[in-house]
């Protein structure tokens, strides 16, 4: 059966067809849908773990039990999971183990650009990289076979344009894969020095075998150019870059498509280089294939032509390789931008409005609420990685204690459980008078509504006892009298709690709680309206950066189709014009 499928959906289909029985992941754009689609197959146990490290360790556990297992994440998630990744290389697998990691060149929804191929090299693991949905499906299945054949975890490298593009796939049936019988093998799985030393030798030997395999594996393939004679151009490429090169150069060039970016072949590359007049490497992001080719003494072009930053496209390939640009029209005037904004009715809005009003220094974190940094709220000083709001606030206050009364960390419920808890323990243990605000909207929002341990539902939709954020904070050493729970919609109560806790020398947590306005279970209120007779056009209501409010003829106007009736703007109007 032929079907149009998203790359991520095709990976999930590959998990299904490849006999995978266990999936554990943490959501992260652009990887999230792999796990969501996998969860739709009754044959696959699939879950959200609190973070990527836990997820990968869980997958290693399932593999140890002999089951084919998968763990998915975005590129920065692999930083979190790096510890089990490196040791996973030493212990190998029971059932096949595949780690799916999605890079985000162009940073469509990320805090950095990071080339995950470095991890495959550093951890000495084989890596496969598909260039369309059909390959997503086939490479995922093949990755399990490769994993079991070479007794190693296998990384599947994806990127935004692969994960979030749809192309045609051919479906087949699920392979029935029985558990690999479990044996107690401490010399293979207990990584203390005496056992780990011989395992390192195993890793190096395995890498040599994989290098040999790379010479003839079906993932690396030469596509000859059309016609006779030596083609002028030989393109070595992988993943999405192959599509762009193909679009521009068609059959006029020869291609070496690298479907296995680690370990890279040698003889295959030499053979290809001899077939063509000039070798050009096109790869996102870092010059990994290029450096390898140069190390073989083969001259090639690569990052001397193509950029190290940003996402590639056929337009870029045409411009850099053929010095060709399409004609196009453009309006002469400058158009206003349209940055993403907090949604109408978003419970985070009042929290950030309060931060701004109180002129606080704000350590932010990763989630929808990072949008609190955008104008006109502009209520954020830092955001770098998951959980860092809390841990960095601690260090900041140790260096500048005077800031304790006017500095907060702000973090979401899912991010707090991911890696905020450890930072909070550092605050209580090392006695910092820090104030942490948890914006608890009862969902993992930015990645598109995934459940987490505090929501009371699993990925498969079962009801479970939710983890209590209050009790975690208490267990982490915050005094119960300094754990405050306020409805996020009650900005007056939130501000009062914030003022008290900032003035207190004790570590404190304020949980601003209200479910995400986009959740299906949340009822929308009636839209508020403006009494134009009372409105003085003072623009006070505009300070909350709500996309529903605009000014028409000097009066505030509220878009009834968008307004959820949260009432935040009404509370700001001194003239009682909004109701």
């Amino acid at each position: 059966m032929r079907k149009l499928m998203l790359g991520n959906e095709a990976v999930a289909r590959g998990l299904y067809e490849g006999g995978c029985g266990f999936v554990s992941s943490y959501p992260g754009t652009p990887s999230t849908e792999i796990t969501e689609y996998a969860a739709k197959y009754p044959e696959i146990y699939a879950e959200w773990a609190p973070n990527e490290k836990v997820a990968l360790e869980a997958a290693i556990g399932a593999s140890t039990a002999g089951m084919r297992a998968f763990c998915g994440m975005k590129h920065v998630g692999l930083n979190v999971a790096a510890d089990p990744l490196f040791i996973g290389a030493y212990i190998g697998v029971g059932g096949g183990l595949v780690i799916g990691v999605a890079d985000d060149p162009g940073m469509h929804s990320s805090q950095n650009e990071q080339d995950s191929r470095h991890y495959a090299i550093a951890a000495k693991l084989p890596m496969l990289e598909p260039s369309n949905s059909d390959e997503c499906l086939r490479f995922t299945k093949a990755a399990f076979e490769l994993s079991e054949r070479f007794d190693t975890p296998v990384i599947l490298r994806l990127s935004t344009r692969i994960s979030h593009s749809q192309s045609i796939v051919e479906l087949s049936e699920r392979e029935n894969v029985p558990l690999v019988p479990y044996e107690k093998l401490p010399a293979k799985r207990v990584m203390m020095p005496a056992y780990a030393r011989p395992r390192h030798t195993v890793v190096e030997e395995r890498l040599s075998e994989l290098r040999e395999y790379a010479e003839s594996c079906p993932f690396n393939r030469i596509i000859p150019a059309e016609g006779t004679g030596k083609p002028k151009l030989g393109i070595v490429t992988s993943g999405p870059s192959y599509n762009y090169a193909r679009e521009v150069l068609g059959d006029s060039a020869a291609y070496l498509v690298i479907g296995m970016p680690n370990p890279l072949p040698e003889r295959l590359i030499r053979k290809f280089a001899e077939m063509v007049e000039r070798v050009v490497v096109i790869e996102e992001l870092d010059p990994i294939i290029e450096t390898h080719i140069k190390s073989l003494g083969i001259p090639c072009d690569g990052k001397n032509i193509f950029p190290l930053t940003g996402e590639y496209s056929q337009g870029l390939v045409a411009e850099k390789l053929l010095v060709k640009k399409n004609e196009y029209a453009k309006l002469t005037e400058e158009l206003p931008g349209r940055p993403p904004v907090l949604c109408p009715g978003c419970p985070h809005r009042g929290v950030f409005y309060t931060f701004k009003k109180m002129k606080l220094t704000v350590f932010g974190d990763i989630g929808c609420y990072t949008l609190g940094a955008a104008q006109p709220l502009s209520a954020m000083d830092t955001t770098f990685c998951m959980g860092a709001s809390i841990s960095a606030l601690h260090g900041f206050l140790k260096a500048m204690p005077d800031y304790a009364s006017r500095t907060v960390a702000v973090i979401g419920d899912s991010t707090f459980l991911h890696s905020g808890v450890t930072g909070l323990m550092n605050i209580t243990y090392n006695r910092t008078p820090a104030t942490v605000v948890i914006v608890d909207n009862n969902i993992t929002g930015m990645t598109g509504h995934q459940d987490n341990p505090a929501t009371g539902k699993t990925l498969k939709g079962e009801d479970v006892t939710p983890v209590s954020l209050e009790k975690i904070c208490e267990g982490a050493g915050v005094s119960p009298s300094h754990i405050r729970v306020v409805p996020a919609s009650d900005t007056a109560a939130f501000e009062a709690a914030l003022r008290e806790e900032l003035a207190s020398p004790e570590p404190s947590v304020i949980i601003a709680r209200q479910p995400c306005a986009l959740l299906k279970t949340v009822k929308r209120g009636d839209p508020v309206t403006v009494d134009t007779g009372k409105c003085k056009g003072c623009r006070a209501c505009m300070a909350v950066a709500c996309p529903c409010i605009s000014m028409t003829d000097g009066k505030a106007q509220i878009d009834a189709a968008l307004c959820t009736g949260c009432g935040l703007c009404a509370g700001l109007c001194r003239f009682g014009a909004i109701d």
Binding site: R2, L4, L6, T29, P30, T32, E33, H108, S109, N132, R161, H164, S165, Q166, S167, I168, N243, Y244, R246, E247, S313, Q314, G315, L316, K325, N326, E327, Y328, A329, K330, L331, E333, L335, P336, G337, R338, P339, P340, V341, L342, C343, C368, L371, A374, Q375, P376, M446, T447, G448, R539, M542, A545, C546, P547, I549, S550, M551, A561
Partner: protein
């Protein structure tokens, strides 16, 4: 239509307007016609009310899923300003189908920028062939303002000589059961609007 040429449709709008659904419906139509199809979507942060663009490309063999400057045969826009923003993607001689709807972006709401006036005339002045439709009003008439995306698909469908049952079947495959009637009504209003606009 010449199958050896890749045909490119760019769908632009504001996060939350249903461009993902539109791209899937259009992709399925050309899949059913036997074409190779690639669709590229944007998820995550930009969906929060930001400028959103998705690509649908079809032909005998489609390599890239993205559309670059000067490559789109058609821009299907759910909002005026977004049509203007993505004009550089339009191929010379290409068509723009746009909703007349205006959604103020945050810089306009915050008063630091003005929403440009007469955008449709300005697009025409740049040589683009523009079909402008009040898709929101038609969607409301069909029973749900959120079906504006499907109204525009109805307009789009009239540019291809493909049996309308193919469009309706792709529509039915992609919308939830309980919204099918509204969406079919929206599609039909789009078809009619295409005839009056053309």
């Amino acid at each position: 239509m010449d199958k050896t040429q890749t045909f490119s449709i760019m769908i632009v709008g504001v996060g939350g307007q249903g461009s993902l659904l539109a791209s899937r419906i259009i992709g399925d139509v050309f899949l059913a016609q036997g074409y190779d199809v690639k669709v590229s979507e944007v998820h995550g942060m930009s969906q929060r009310g930001g400028s959103v663009v998705t690509y649908v490309r079809f032909g005998e063999n489609v390599a890239s899923p993205v559309i670059c400057e000067g490559e789109a045969d058609i821009i299907l826009s759910f909002e005026q300003l977004e049509a203007a923003r993505w004009l550089p993607s339009l191929k010379p001689g290409g068509k723009i189908i746009t909703a007349t709807q205006r959604i103020n972006p945050m810089p306009v709401i915050a008063g630091t920028a003005k929403y440009p006036e007469n955008l449709i005339e300005k697009l025409k002045a740049q040589g683009a062939s523009v079909i402008a439709v009040d898709a929101a009003a038609l969607a409301e008439r069909a029973g749900n303002i959120k079906a504006a995306n499907v109204v525009l698909i109805g307009v789009l469908s009239k540019l291809f000589g493909i049996n309308r049952d193919v469009w309706l079947s792709a529509l039915k495959d992609n919308v939830p059961q309980k919204y099918i009637d509204v969406n079919i009504a929206a599609f039909e209003l789009g078809e009619k609007a295409a005839q009056t606009a053309a």
